[in-house]
């Protein structure tokens, strides 16, 4: 199973069998709760499957997202630092990440299946690829956002290029990097649902399962959780950014 085994939770496949007509007149059972199959949304199904289905898949989804964003951030930061000094590298990496971004998500995932298999690795390669454009561009913009006067003063005061980069450019890039990280995280949470087509992980798996049935509750519950996850992640990143950049809020405070 390769990378799948690394995940710290059970990956037992979710049962997807739909009872066939051969069994005679049967009320299809979509996982308990005693819901009628034509109900738009059935709370008792959610209660019944909360601990066994929804939470484990939500946790998987968080892991998938976190892995992709963290790896994407590390690579994008390194690339942006390089691009800050080498303009040819900036052009090259920008073109590369733009091309990746334009590839349809499902095609991107399936492209790697012959190479890396129906695995988490395939999913992460795709997801990380989508973060590059946002994170790289934002990081580079941030590194260049230092006021010209501050750069001139820093050089005149005897800061070495390395000190200027670490003490001035990098901290001043944090707001822009965090803005990129917010968009990238929300994008990955959304794209990761599609990734379930490759490997049965995350909230996407529940959605794909439900697509094959007439039972709506599972689809709606998983989708709602994905949306909720995106909102919560975004809010947490906003809080993190505020904590990391105390000078931003005072500036706003003064103008209002």
């Amino acid at each position: 199973m390769g990378p799948l085994a690394a995940l710290p939770f059970s990956l037992a496949p979710f049962p997807t069998e739909v009872p066939g007509p051969a069994q005679g007149p049967v009320i299809p059972d979509f996982g308990g709760g005693g819901c009628p199959d034509d109900a738009t949304f059935c709370w008792s199904w959610v209660r019944e499957n909360w601990g066994s289905q929804l939470v484990p898949h939500l946790v998987q989804h968080i892991y998938i997202t976190a892995i992709a964003v963290v790896i994407g951030l590390v690579i994008s930061l390194a690339a942006a630092v390089l691009a800050y000094r080498l303009s040819w590298f900036e052009k090259g990496f920008m073109a590369f990440s733009t091309v990746l971004y334009t590839i349809p998500a499902l095609a991107f995932f399936l492209f790697f299946v012959p190479i890396t298999g129906l695995s988490l690795l395939t999913v992460e390669i795709g997801l990380v690829g989508y973060t590059f454009l946002l994170l790289f561009r934002n990081t580079l913009t941030g590194l260049r956002s230092v006021p010209p006067g501050a750069m001139a003063a820093a050089a005149g005061m005897g800061m070495t290029p390395r000190e200027i980069f670490l003490r001035i450019n990098l901290p001043l890039a944090v707001p822009s990097i965090m803005a990129g990280a917010r968009v990238a995280t929300v994008t990955v949470i959304s794209l990761a649902t599609i990734a379930a087509d490759v490997t049965p992980l995350g909230l996407g798996e529940l959605i794909f399962t439900a697509l094959h049935t007439v039972f709506r509750t599972e689809l709606i519950a998983a989708g709602a959780l994905a949306i909720l996850l995106a909102l919560v992640a975004d809010a947490l990143l906003v809080l993190a950014q505020r904590a990391a950049t105390p000078w931003i809020r005072v500036r706003r405070g003064r103008t209002t």
Binding site: A152, A153, A154, M157, G158, M159, R167, V250
Partner: protein, 364 residues
């Protein structure tokens, strides 16, 4: 704390000024000197700056940006570099801390070539103030002032004490230390810029149109404050400005540069106004140089025993001739009374006496 200059050790550092013979013998050591200075309440005063036939050529340009510039700025004085845009005044200033490297000649600080010092050490030991101030927006005021001390590895306590001391020196409240630059007014930011440049008590300050972005009232206040400060700290200052009035006000000496960085005239404000070397300088100082020159003279120079007649307008002794004349013309009074700062009468002068005093050389 390792030595800042690598293998050359203290040999590579700027020597002490004439004011401290023992220091110049030992060689100038920013770390050691400052520790001692702080402990004993001593201060480093300015060092003489000498431009010796300095030329700066840029590749691919026929005319040098600075042409054979020679001038000596005495220790502890302010020299204003003035001239038109593109006249090379900022370039000349940046040659001193080697933000721009000169092509020929040499620049000496306290007798030692700036090229004999490691460039990072040199810059950290020269105060640098620019028009945009260039405070770092993500650092508090204390963080900004403490940038160079931090790079030099000072202890937290020592930096904190120095920050408080500098805030007092530039007359800002110590509570500002925890604020961010965006929370300060333009005038306050410029004072923080000054405090930051003074953090390690450098012997030399380079100031590039430092007050150019301030409104006229704030500007005048900050100018006065800097002159008052300079009386305490006695730095050798190179002050770049395009404003001849600012140069007259701030400069112990003024160097007028023309296109190509050629020195048109170097002298005191009064030299320039009374005896401009040529039409270019005369043009630059302005057709009203006669009046400007009167700004340099104080009514206190005029001493006679005559009492102030009743009803005559009075001015204090440190008022300029220019204001004195203006008051005489505006009130149409025959005589002007002069008092001391407290308002006690000193003497009175007529328009004719003022005119003959102007005609005579200053100080005679």
């Amino acid at each position: 704390m390792p030595h800042l200059t690598g293998p050359a050790g203290s040999d590579a550092k700027l020597p002490g000024s004439d004011h401290g013979a023992d220091r110049s013998a030992a060689g100038f050591d920013p770390e050691h000197d400052l520790l001692d200075g702080a402990a004993h309440g001593e201060r480093r005063s300015g060092l003489e700056i000498e431009f010796r036939n300095v030329t700066k050529r840029y590749p691919g340009q026929d005319q040098p940006a600075i042409t054979d510039l020679s001038l000596t700025i005495p220790a502890g004085t302010i020299c204003c570099l003035v001239g038109p845009s593109g006249g090379g005044k900022t370039t000349a200033m940046k040659l001193v801390n080697r933000l721009i490297e000169f092509s020929d000649g040499d620049i000496l600080i306290g007798g030692r070539s700036v090229r004999s010092v490691d460039v990072t050490t040199l810059r950290r030991d020269i105060g640098y103030v620019i028009q945009q101030v260039g405070l770092f927006p993500h650092m508090t005021i204390a963080g900004n002032i403490g940038v160079v001390p931090t790079l030099l590895g000072w202890s937290k306590e020592r930096i904190r004490d120095r920050v408080a001391e500098l805030l007092d020196l530039v007359r800002l409240d110590r509570s500002l230390a925890k604020r961010y630059p965006a929370q300060l007014s333009g005038g306050q930011q410029q004072r923080i810029g000054l405090a930051r440049a003074l953090a390690v008590d450098p012997p030399v300050m380079l100031m590039d149109e430092p007050f150019g972005a301030l409104d006229p009232i704030t500007r005048a206040a900050v100018q006065d404050e800097f002159l008052r400060l300079q009386e305490q700290i006695n730095k050798t200052v190179i002050f770049v400005t395009h404003d001849i009035d600012e140069a007259i006000r701030m400069g112990d000496s003024i160097a007028v540069l023309r296109e190509g960085g050629v020195l048109a005239q170097f002298g005191t404000a009064d030299d320039l106004l009374a005896n401009p070397a040529d039409d270019y300088v005369a043009d630059f100082v302005g057709a009203d140089r006669g009046l400007k020159r009167l700004s340099l003279r104080r009514l206190g120079e005029l001493v006679n025993g005559r009492a102030i007649p009743a009803g005559a307008p009075t001015l204090t002794a440190d008022t300029s001739f220019r204001i004195g004349l203006s008051v005489l013309f505006a009130t149409n009074a025959p005589v002007l009374g002069i008092t001391d700062d407290a308002g006690a009468p000193l003497c009175s002068v007529t328009l004719e006496e003022l005119r003959s005093a102007v005609a005579a050389e200053p100080g005679s």
